[in-house]
Amino acid sequence: MTANQYRNPGMPLDLAWVMRARVNRSALERRTATLPARRAIKKEWQAAWLLRAITCIDLTTLAGDDTPGRVRRLCAKAKQPVRPDMLAALGAAEADITVGAVCVYPNRVREAVEALKGTHIPVASVATGFPDGQTPLAQRIAEIEQAIESGATEIDVVIARTYVLTGDWKALYDEIRLFRDVCGGSAHMKTILATGDLGTHKQVYQASLVAMMAGSDFIKTSTGKEKVNATLEFGLVMTRAIREYADQTGYQVGFKPAGGINSAKQALAWQALMREELGVEWLMPDLFRIGASSLLTDLERQLYHYITGHYAARHHMPMG
C-alpha cells in the first residue's frame, strides 16, 4: 500500500464511510483460527521475531498498589529486557534491545521519566478517566495535560463507550479530536476502544475509523480492565480498518493490542496477524505495540530455549 510517513493528521468525519462498514463475525473467526496455523515461525526466525516483539512491548503497570519503587524496578527491566548473556548468544549484544515504552498511570509518570533518563524509551501514560472514561470532560482533558507536563510523550486515551453504544459518532469524533488537539505536538496519542465493552465487531470497526479520522496515532484494543481484552478477532477488525484508512488517506496508523497477552505463542500470532493484514512495517515499534506486563518473561524463556535447547525456569529470568 502507498502510505505516508508522516503522522496521521486526521480528517473530517466521513459518516457515509462509517455507516458502510460490514463485518462478518464467523468469517473473522475462521481467519483468526487458521492464521496462526498458516504462519508457524520456528528456530532462528522465531528468536528474531520474539526479539522484535520485545522492542514493541509497552511494559505496563496500572495497579492501585503501584509505588515509586515498583515503577523503578519496571523501568530497569525496560532498559535491560533480556539477560546480556542471552543477547550475546543471539548475536544481538550491540542491537540496543529495549522495550517500546513504559506505560503507567499519570501519577507515576514523573518517576518513570526519572528512571528512564538517558535512554530513548518513551513513557506512556493512560489518561482521560482510565479505564472507564466516565469522569467529567474537563478532568479527562486535565489528565492529558498533566501527564504531558510530567514528561509523558505517549498518551493512551480511553474513549467514551457511551457514544459508540448510542451511535453518536459525531460526539465520539469531536471528543477524540479534542484529545488529539491537547496532545498536540508533544505526545503521540493511542486511542483505546475498550472493544470488550462494545456491542459488535462492526461497532469496533466503526469506532476504529472514527478514532483514526479524529487523528489517533495508534488505535488500541483494551484497557486490560474489561471482561474481554485483546482477542485476535478484535485485532483483525481493527487492522483491516487501519488498512482501509491507509488506502483512502495515505496515513499509517499504528495498532496496539493490550490485555491478556502473556505468552510467546500469542505474541507470534499477533505478529503474524500484523504482517499478513498490514505488512512488515507494522511489526516495528513505531506502528506496533503490545501492551503487557507478564509477557516479557515468557519471551525470555523462549529465547533461552532457542539458545540452549533446554526449557527455561521462570525464576532464572530477572523480574521486572
Partner: protein, 815 residues
C-alpha cells in the same frame, strides 16, 4: 540467516514438519506394498508395481501393486464372506468397531497427516487440521448410525459388497466418506485408491486392522483403471461409489447400466462464489482464498467462478490481488505455507494449459509476484479477470489454483450466472443481508450452499451434486441410503447385456405408428343408438391436445376387444410435455415454490374428485385388465389412499436441521429434482400411475407421465380428474404411446432431470446407459415387478427419497 538479520527483515523461514515416522513406516514395508485383503498383506506373484512420488520434490516414496483379476476376485470373495457375518452383526457391536477405528485414527493422527502431505502435496496444515480430523469425525458420526440402525432404519437392509473408487485430491477424506457409512450399516468394502495417492489408504488399512476390525470388512486394492473396471463390472459387487471426474462418472454409469448395482457418483464442479455489494469484503477475500486456493484448487467443490457485483468489483479485485501477494507456496511439510504442490506433472500441465487458454480467450491473467520453489510441481495462485460466460475457461473445470471472475448487476443476474453451468456441486455467497442471502441460497442449483463461508464439510451434512456433478450424498442421514436397499427387495440381477451393442441400441424403442384395426364381430347393427365417439387425447400444459403426428393407437381389453383409441405419441409430444413441465416451474408461483400446504390441498382435491368417479374408474380397470370388479374397486380405493398419503407428505418432508460442527445453522433441504419423466408399468394401470405421480408432484417436481402401454385409458380418464382439481398447467403431463419409444426420447432429453422407468430389463439397461449424457438421476425396475398394492413396495420413504435431492445450506451465525 542470523537472528539479527531476521530481526530487521522479519522474513518468514521454513517450519518443517518431521517426516521421520512416515519414512520409517515406508521403510518398515521396504517401500513396496501388497494388497490389503482379509486384514493381511497379499503379495501376488508376477504382478507389476507402480511408483508413488512426492510431488514436492519428485522423490520416489514407494511402489504399490497393480492388482489384476485374480486379486480383485480374491478381495470380492473376502468381502462377500465377511458380509455374511458383518451384515448380521448387531448395530451396537458394529458401533464399537467404528468407534475403535475413530480412536485409532486419532492415535495415529500425525503419521496419517504427514504421509498424506508427502504423497499428495497438500500443506501439512490442511492434512493435519482438516483432512485427518474429518476422517476421525466420519467414523465417530457413523458409529452412531451403527448404533441406531435397527431402530431408525428398520425398513432397510445393507446392499452387500461395495466397490469404492476414490480420487487423489483428498485420499483420506474421500476414503472416510466412502467407507464409514458403508460399513456402519453392514456392508463390506473394496476400496481402490487413486493411482497418484495410494499410500495413506494402505496405512489406514493397517490402522483399522490394529483397531480389531474383522477380516474382509475393508479391503484395499491398488491398481490401474483396469482394476477399477474389474471392480465395477464384477458380478458379485452390489454397489459402486465413485468420486472423480464427470467423464469417468459417465463411463461408470454406462458400465453398470442394467446390472442392478446401485451407483452413487460425486463428480466435477465449477462452483460459483458470489459477492454482493453489502458483503464484508475483507471477509469475502479470505473466503476466496479458502474457496480456490485450498488444496491447490484441486477440490471438486472449489469456488472457481467468482461473481462480483459490478459496483464493487474494482475494489474487491484490488483487495483480492493484494491478498494474493501474501500467499506462500512451498514445501507441503512446511507449516508456514498456504499452498503446496500440484499432485502430478500431467495435472500441472493441464492447469497451465487452461491459464493460457484463458489469456487467449481475452482474459486478463493475474499472478502475484511471489517466490515459488525452484523444483517440484508448484503453481502460483491465479486470477483471470474480464472473462465472459461464453469463455471455455468459465465453463470448464480446471481443477487447479485458478479463479475466473465475472461481474453481475442484480441478484437475479447473479443467480442466472451462477446456475449457467452443467454442474451443481456447491456455491458460496456473501452478503450481510439475510433476506437476500437466504433467498439466493434457495435458488442456486447446488448440493451445498455456503452463506458467508466456503468449503465447510461435516459428517452430519450430506455432500453431493445436482446435475452433472453426480447423484447421491455422502454424510448425513441422507447419505446412508446410498448403501441401503429396501428390506423387502433382493438385489436385482437382471443381467441384461446386449449381444450386438449397436444393433441392439438402434432397435430399442424403435416404433412404427399404429394403423386402423378392423373391429371385432360384435358390430353395431345400425339400429342401436351408437355411443358418442370418445377420443382420449394427450394432456400437456393443462390442455387436452392431439398427438403431434395424429397417429392413433388401438387399445384392447385383455380379452382382445377394442375398447378405445389413444394418441400414439412421438418425440415432439415428449418435447412439448417437457417444455410444459418446465413452464410449470417458471410460472409464478412455480410448482416447487408453492407451499407444501398448497400442494397437499391439490393432492387431497385430486383424491376427492377421483372418489367421485370411482365406479367409472373401477369399471375401466375391470374391462381393461380383466380383473374382478372387487379387485378393480380396491385398486381405485388404494389410488385414493395413495393420494392422501402424499398429500400428507407434501408438507412433512422438507428436510432437517443438520447437527454439524458449524457454529450456526446447517439446513438440509429436500428439494425437488425438477422435471421427472415417469414410464409406468402395465400392471395396476391406475394405482401404479398414481403411486408414481403423487410422490413426485407432492415434493414439487413436475412430471411427464408415460402411462401403461397396454392399459392407458385409466390415465387418459385421469386427466379430467386433474382438470377439475386445480392442478396448475404443466405439473402433470400425460403422453400415451409406445413406452420404450417415448422413454428413449425422455432419457435422451438433456433438460429432463430424472427418469423413472418401470418396464423391461432391457429398457432399464438403456435408461441407465443413456442417462449418462447429462447424468440425470434414474430409478428403474430392471423388469422386476413390485406389488403396487403393498404399502411397503408401492409407497413410502423410498418414493420420497427418489423424488428429492438434498441441498445443505450452511449459515454461520454471530455478530
Amino acid at each position: 540467516m542470523g537472528v539479527l538479520e531476521i530481526f530487521k527483515s522479519l522474513d518468514y523461514g521454513p517450519a518443517p514438519e518431521s517426516s521421520l515416522a512416515a519414512n520409517a513406516w515406508l521403510d518398515d514395508h521396504e517401500r513396496k506394498f501388497g494388497l490389503f485383503i482379509n486384514n493381511e498383506w497379499v503379495r501376488p506373484k508376477g504382478v507389476e508395481y507402480y511408483p508413488s512420488f512426492n510431488p514436492a520434490n519428485g522423490e520416489l516414496l514407494a511402489e504399490t501393486t497393480q492388482a489384476g483379476q485374480p486379486e480383485v476376485d480374491l478381495a470380492v470373495t473376502a468381502a462377500r464372506r465377511a458380509f455374511e457375518i458383518w451384515s448380521k452383526t448387531p448395530g451396537s457391536v458394529r458401533a464399537r468397531y467404528l468407534y475403535a477405528i475413530a480412536r485409532n485414527i486419532q492415535k495415529h493422527h500425525r503419521l496419517l497427516a504427514v504421509l498424506e502431505s508427502m504423497d499428495n502435496g497438500k500443506p501439512i496444515r490442511e492434512s493435519r487440521d482438516i483432512d485427518v480430523p474429518l476422517l476421525a469425525r466420519h467414523f465417530y458420526y457413523h458409529a452412531g448410525w451403527s448404533q441406531l440402525m435397527e431402530t431408525e432404519l428398520h425398513d432397510y437392509q445393507p446392499v452387500g459388497v461395495v466397490g469404492q473408487i476414490i480420487p487423489w485430491n483428498f485420499p483420506l477424506l474421500m476414503l472416510a466418506w466412502k467407507i464409514a457409512p458403508a460399513i456402519a450399516i453392514g456392508n463390506t468394502v473394496l476400496l481402490k485408491p487413486a493411482s497418484y495417492t495410494r499410500l495413506t489408504a494402505l496405512l489406514f488399512a493397517e490402522i483399522i486392522a490394529e483397531a480389531g476390525l474383522p477380516p474382509g470388512v475393508i479391503n484395499v486394492i491398488t491398481g490401474s483403471s483396469k482394476a477399477g473396471t474389474m471392480i465395477v463390472t464384477h458380478p458379485d459387487v452390489d454397489k459402486i461409489a465413485f468420486t472423480g471426474s464427470t467423464d469417468v462418472g459417465r463411463t461408470l454409469r454406462r458400465q453398470t447400466a442394467g446390472s442392478g448395482k446401485k451407483l452413487s457418483l460425486e463428480l466435477g464442479g465449477k462452483s460459483p462464489f458470489i459477492v454482493f455489494d453489502d458483503a464484508d469484503l475483507d471477509g469475502a477475500v479470505e473466503g476466496v482464498v479458502d474457496a480456490i486456493w485450498f488444496n491447490q484448487g484441486q477440490v471438486c467443490c472449489a469456488g472457481s467462478r467468482l461473481l462480483v457485483q459490478e459496483n464493487i468489483a474494482g475494489r474487491f479485485l484490488q483487495k483480492l490481488e493484494r491478498r494474493m501477494e501474501t500467499m506462500r507456496v512451498g514445501d507441503p511439510l512446511d507449516k508456514c505455507i498456504d499452498m503446496g504442490a500440484i499432485v502430478d506433472r500431467t495435472q500441472w500441465e493441464t492447469v497451465d494449459m487452461w491459464v493460457k487458454r484463458g489469456a487467449e480467450e481475452g482474459g486478463e491473467v493475474f499472478q502475484p509476484s511471489i517466490d515459488l520453489p525452484d523444483k517440484g510441481l508448484f503453481y502460483p495462485p491465479t486470477l483471470i479477470k474480464n472473462l465472459d460466460p461464453a469463455a471455455e475457461t468459465v465453463q470448464e473445470e480446471i481443477f487447479g489454483p485458478v479463479l475466473v471472475s465475472l461481474n453481475f448487476r442484480t441478484p437475479a443476474e447473479a443467480i442466472a450466472l451462477a446456475n449457467n453451468t452443467r454442474y451443481g456441486l456447491a456455491a458460496s455467497l456473501w452478503s450481510e443481508n439475510i433476506n437476500l442471502a437466504l433467498d439466493v441460497a434457495s435458488k442456486l442449483k447446488a448440493g451445498s450452499v455456503w452463506v458467508n463461508c466456503t468449503n465447510l464439510f461435516d459428517a452430519a451434512s450430506g455432500f453431493g451434486g445436482y446435475r452433472e456433478s453426480g447423484f447421491g450424498r455422502e454424510g448425513g442421514r441422507e447419505g446412508l441410503f446410498e448403501y441401503l436397499r429396501p428390506a423387502w427387495q433382493p438385489r436385482p440381477r437382471p443381467d441384461y447385456a446386449p449381444a450386438d451393442a449397436k444393433a441392439d441400441k438402434d432397435s430399442w424403442g424403435a416404433h412404427i405408428p399404429a394403423r386402423p384395426t378392423l373391429p371385432d364381430a360384435n358390430k353395431a347393427n345400425g339400429r342401436e343408438l351408437p355411443r358418442v365417439d370418445r377420443t382420449p387425447k394427450m394432456y400437456i400444459g393443462g390442455k387436452q391436445v392431439r398427438p403431434d403426428e395424429q397417429y392413433t393407437r388401438p387399445i384392447f381389453s385383455v380379452k382382445g376387444k377394442l375398447i378405445g383409441q389413444v394418441g400414439d405419441g412421438n418425440r415432439k409430444d415428449i418435447r412439448n410435455a417437457v417444455e410444459a413441465a418446465h413452464a410449470a416451474h417458471t410460472a409464478k408461483p412455480g410448482w416447487a415454490m408453492r407451499h407444501g400446504y398448497n400442494r397437499s390441498q391439490i393432492l387431497f382435491f385430486i383424491a376427492e374428485n377421483l372418489q367421485a368417479r370411482s365406479d367409472e374408474f373401477a369399471e375401466r380397470i375391470r374391462i381393461s385388465t380383466g380383473c374382478s370388479a372387487a379387485l378393480a374397486r380396491s385398486e381405485v380405493e388404494l389410488a385414493i389412499e395413495r393420494l392422501f398419503l402424499y398429500a400428507a407428505w407434501a408438507d412433512k418432508y422438507g428436510g432437517s436441521v443438520q447437527e454439524t460442527t458449524l457454529h450456526g445453522v446447517t439446513v438440509g433441504v429436500n428439494e425437488p429434482l425438477g422435471v421427472v419423466g415417469i414410464a409406468c408399468p402395465d400392471e395396476f394401470p391406475l394405482l401404479a400411475f398414481v403411486s408414481l405421480m403423487a410422490p413426485a408432484i407432492a415434493r414439487g417436481n413436475t412430471v411427464v407421465m408415460i402411462p401403461s402401454e397396454k392399459h392407458p385409458l385409466s390415465a387418459t380418464d385421469f386427466y379430467q380428474v386433474l382438470d377439475t382439481s386445480d392442478v396448475p398447467p404443466g405439473v402433470v403431463n400425460i403422453v400415451t404411446g409406445d413406452r420404450d419409444y417415448l422413454t428413449k426420447t425422455l432419457i435422451q432429453h438433456e433438460d429432463v432431470d430424472a427418469v423413472w422407468y418401470f418396464g423391461s430389463a432391457r429398457g432399464s439397461y438403456y435408461v441407465e446407459h443413456e442417462s449418462a449424457a447429462n447424468m440425470k438421476r434414474t430409478w428403474v425396475s430392471y423388469g422386476i415387478r413390485r406389488d403396487w398394492t403393498s404399502a411397503e413396495q408401492g409407497a413410502g420413504h423410498e418414493f420420497l427419497h427418489e423424488a428429492t435431492q438434498v441441498k445443505n445450506i450452511w449459515v454461520p451465525t454471530g455478530e
